[in-house]
Symmetry: C2
Subunit: 796 residues, 2 copies
Amino acid sequence: MADGISISSFGPARSTIKGSPLSDSEVAQHNDFFKASCYLALGMIYLKENPLLRQPLTTDHLKARLLGHFGSAPGQIFTYMHFTRMIKKHDLDAFFVSGPGHGAPGVLSQSYLDGVYSEVYPDKPQDIEGLRNMFKKFSFPGGIGSHATPEMPGSIHEGGELGYSLSHAFGAVFDYPDLIALTMVGDGEAETGPLATSWHSNKFLNPITDGVVLPVLHLNGYKINNPTILSRISHAELVNLFLGYGWQPYFVEGDEMDSMHQAMAATLEHCVSEIKSFQKRARESKQAFRPKWPMIILRSPKGWSGPRKLDDNYLEGFWRIHQVPITDPATNSAHLQVLEDWMRSYEPDRLFDKKGAPIPSITALCASGNRRMSANPVANGGLLKKPLRMPDFKEYGIAVNHPGAVYDASMQNMAKFLRDIMALNPTNFRLFGPDETESNMLANVYEAGKKVWMAEFLEEDANGGNLAMAGRVMEMLSEHTCEGWLEGYILSGRHGLLNCYEAFIHVIDSMVNQHCKWLEKCNEVDWRAKVASLNILLTAVVWRQDHNGFTHQDPGFLEVVANKSPEVVRIYLPPDGNCLLSVMDHCFRSTNYVNVIVSDKKEHLQYLDMDSAIKHCTKGIGIWPQFSSDSGEEPDLVMASCGDISTQESIAAIDLLLTFFPDLKIRCVNCVDLFKLIHPIDHRHGLSDREWISIFTDDKPIIFNFHGYPWLVHRLTYKRPGSINLHVRGYREQGNVDTPLLLAIQNRTDRFSLAIDALDRMPHLHNRSAAAKQMLADEQIAARLEAIETVQRFEF
Amino acid sequence: MADGISISSFGPARSTIKGSPLSDSEVAQHNDFFKASCYLALGMIYLKENPLLRQPLTTDHLKARLLGHFGSAPGQIFTYMHFTRMIKKHDLDAFFVSGPGHGAPGVLSQSYLDGVYSEVYPDKPQDIEGLRNMFKKFSFPGGIGSHATPEMPGSIHEGGELGYSLSHAFGAVFDYPDLIALTMVGDGEAETGPLATSWHSNKFLNPITDGVVLPVLHLNGYKINNPTILSRISHAELVNLFLGYGWQPYFVEGDEMDSMHQAMAATLEHCVSEIKSFQKRARESKQAFRPKWPMIILRSPKGWSGPRKLDDNYLEGFWRIHQVPITDPATNSAHLQVLEDWMRSYEPDRLFDKKGAPIPSITALCASGNRRMSANPVANGGLLKKPLRMPDFKEYGIAVNHPGAVYDASMQNMAKFLRDIMALNPTNFRLFGPDETESNMLANVYEAGKKVWMAEFLEEDANGGNLAMAGRVMEMLSEHTCEGWLEGYILSGRHGLLNCYEAFIHVIDSMVNQHCKWLEKCNEVDWRAKVASLNILLTAVVWRQDHNGFTHQDPGFLEVVANKSPEVVRIYLPPDGNCLLSVMDHCFRSTNYVNVIVSDKKEHLQYLDMDSAIKHCTKGIGIWPQFSSDSGEEPDLVMASCGDISTQESIAAIDLLLTFFPDLKIRCVNCVDLFKLIHPIDHRHGLSDREWISIFTDDKPIIFNFHGYPWLVHRLTYKRPGSINLHVRGYREQGNVDTPLLLAIQNRTDRFSLAIDALDRMPHLHNRSAAAKQMLADEQIAARLEAIETVQRFEF
């Protein structure tokens, strides 16, 4: 293999590892398997009838609308089937991650040939009728999608949005020391940022305690309409890039079938042997190290084995074969003939028996039972999930004898609970975060599990570095990678938590969207067992960004989450430390949700003792009589809040109002569970209108101080009786390097503004309120100036 | 320099390029400059008084709250000042991109010493008072932030969110052939996905027509509380990684001052010479090629020149020096002394004169005029911006003689307008997109400008590849890189458009958030000239995802944008092709906005001729009498819509209703400019309530068919009179591989559902409506079944 440019995917195999481990008959057998698989992939795209072409192909047999992608199927099939040989030979525990988008035809064909698909979907048996059903239901309403969706057995990675195959695969193999994630990485998705940095995951993989990811970078050369970058750089650059990422790349390049079978077989044998020898060395010596794990660069033509040209246009080995290769067989009889010839070149007559089942020499290549990759229970992680062992969160309660009189750090306190969960679940729970765990006041967890670090160590690390080769905390400055790892870890049956600065969780908006969609579909797939919820703890919140400034002020992730299906999303804003404990406990016990918890990391007033906190969190929203002056009667005013800092200001505003108007009947309401606000028709957590009225009234002014953007509350409550009386304050994108008070004033969420707002809405106080408002405004100015001068937090 | 592990940042310089280009006195001079700069950086973090330590340091001189980051400052200072030497020597046109977060102290010090800062902010002259002001106002309310914010002269890249330095830098140098973007890349941000893939930008840079980015990867070893990956892999891995990315890495490593000056000077000289020679070769031969552009890997200790230890804790060369290095000088007198000794080690007495100005031997090192990097007008791009040369968009109009009778492809038609803009602005406009331009029906643009491609070419490329070394379309499968390039291109004074699938624009939610925040602050900085708007065209919309399925259905980007400041965001949903043209024309002429345009890419009914379209788009919302039956009178019902597909269904629903009830007075309303809906107090585009009532009434039922999530409309309209009568339909996260009609029915946005909704809200039709509803429901079922059977789009 020469250095320099060598980027053709055509010709006899060129490979790093030489050898011809297959007998001629094995080559022939694999060739048949490949053909049968490609046939199935094409069948899914084209046929609704005549599935084995036992009659001449006519337009009546074609689907009315041709949908599906052929381009990456042959390469995925080729990889999958050759690795199956390794599984059988070495009794490997492995599963398959299909990185390229629209990978379903290639992967489904494997799951069908080895029988898993028919076991899971008995209406698609291995016969003519089963084939017809499988073909017809592909990319069809009520059927199966063109990505590796939740409906596909063996999938934990849909690939509908590109870039997460490697991080998902790594997440799945952490703490499963015998597992291999064979991971096909598309050269398209390899251009995405999340994928490009996830190669570095090998600095976080321990060869003793973790399994391994075997990536196969598929250089099939093209995306939708463009060549891919990695397929158009020199061989030397490719080698360098992956050595630089810390992998040992092995090339398998070409399209000449027989030699490619030998090359792939020899290369996989070599990779498996290297993996086993690295693991053996580390495990026998009990000394972890970071080997150059093997990876494969497979350069094969896009649409490999398809027609090289259709009329004057390149097809195989070009982007035109990305999706439906021949788009007009229904109207162009010459093209129909090309299609038929192509399909028949895969010899369906010979490779499927009379009944329509694959012939024995094909099924003989398949693994059996759970060794079949699409049957591996790791890809239906709920089956493997063990409940977390949880200490009693009440033991961690903050003593609150007088509400609103104790100051404590809710987050730091909760970290002890987290630490003990970690200690009790040494192979079942990990904490993930982009280098913010200590900044987020969670450093207590390091007592139970240090940060995994498989790169080099320096002497300084002993000075509070908290690094270890075997650890429980995963920190890399990539929200994408952290989230991807966590998703993989959960989907394969374990538990975890992501902690992140509130503003920068937007970096992974789309990943969370996609995970929500995954969960939503899982709820419709009855054989999928429930997995642990994806728990996201947001802190370093918008209201405390005096030195980070405007860029760090963004509470809008809640809007993104609230748009997703109510079946899968939950949002909690605990007002104090005991509520935070109760909420965390609840989230860790839940399944198949995305739970978002928002909590500031600084010291705060504490309001509820543990019993009250549990009651309050169980209800999710409630009246706080201890801060109310309505004595259970009809109030003049409802002062509501959601979020710890917002609650503090709202309660302070009540105090201010009562100073001026001691007789005012004010009701204090606090909301922990944001979806309590929405109508029950739109989220099952929603209060009934009757409950709503009993809390908020339907005719009294409500001043609602919200943690996030104020209009989110309006969007949740527009159906509520009396919603016209709801006056919401929250972050309105007004900020800079401001003191917390100044920031609050600019957004009118401070105690003074809230009190003035309340007075504005009680016209019956008319004359008396004008003077009070003036005094409040004066106090506000004085407090603001003082806060600026001292540049201190304004907190009481 | 040995291979293998070599990762200490301490010791005499180790560098790839040898040589000692500096005289002893030049070394001394650079040393002084470095010291003066570090002194200023520390001063900003610590001092409110006694700026040059002319009195012994006491706690009274300290800021009440210590804010700021020192860690990366020395390395940035070192790089900046040495490159200034190159600028002076070779008369280079260059500016500086500060990648690491919180880079302000390092960069501001340079801008202060060379005089730009004082010119821009006359209250901070080069004297004692100026220093005091600069120190005090750093990270202070009403002052300047700790990132490279818009208030900082010379900045186009804030760095508040990490990962975009390289893509911003590349965007800025495209089409500026003489420009060099000296780009400091933090080793923390280097772990992010967006940064990791943006190294590949070199495959899109043409050495003839574009300038060049000189990246300096700063291995200062630590992030907030963790080592960085790239600082803890072997030297060989580092070399490989960057060779693999296509760069030629040059190392400068160590902390011994004098030898480091020589090493950096020699290395920069070598890099500049390489850059010039590559450019010369390409430009003289007129033959573009992709050289291995030089980059520098600078390994210097975090907090270089700070105290190595404080008590028992490592400081310099460890993460503890990331932020405020010594946190307690106000309460720990020993630490106060350490701080004072440290600051005095920078010799402020010697390096600033009596007046407080830097001494001449320091200012002698600075460049002058616009050669000073922070004065380069490219970083205040509005100064350089030339208006786009625009053809008359009316010339591209679709003939619509009868509203709702013509079918045409709005997007494909608009592409011709785009093509001609491209042709008229050959160095001033680029189109960006993640490999979706052709799929998005914009391929016409390739007639005016092909896709830039500097990687290898193959024979297939001639077959519709549309690739060229000099082109105007930028396609890489990384939304992050495309967006980053576009931002850099715009901020440096040019124009552009990003086209993207609607669902996957969420990938860059956070980048758009940050750009909005940048623009919002620019509006408050009077010396910043306005730049072209960031235009985002979304297509492949939620309602047409029959083969892509659920993962491709997400219209929620609008919520993300709507949360940003109303001063900078605009959202348009043109209902047809002529409206799309009018909207695009408007957006290209606008400045300092983020414009989001949503338009489907398939064929659609056309409603408005060009004149009507212009009028409609100018108003932004209006009644469509041609589809109404209220004859300008008070209607029984308002049928409103926003979005092309939504409009089609809404109008069809009107037809259905009139079939059953020909006397019904229905008003058809269409909204193009989404912010027309919101109250004018919240966005200047908002209709007055009076206008609102004249369109929507305040007492009639309104059935509003919306393109996106329905609650966004409620969030925008909750203040409106009669908002209780507003019944909004939109995407409710119900989907799969569905026909468009099935998808619409599931979300109840189809014509039948809308008509039924309308009947439900007109109780006065009571008896007659029951039968009509039954018939509509039957028609709906029939149409759904037919659509599934034929798997055809349901369109009329």
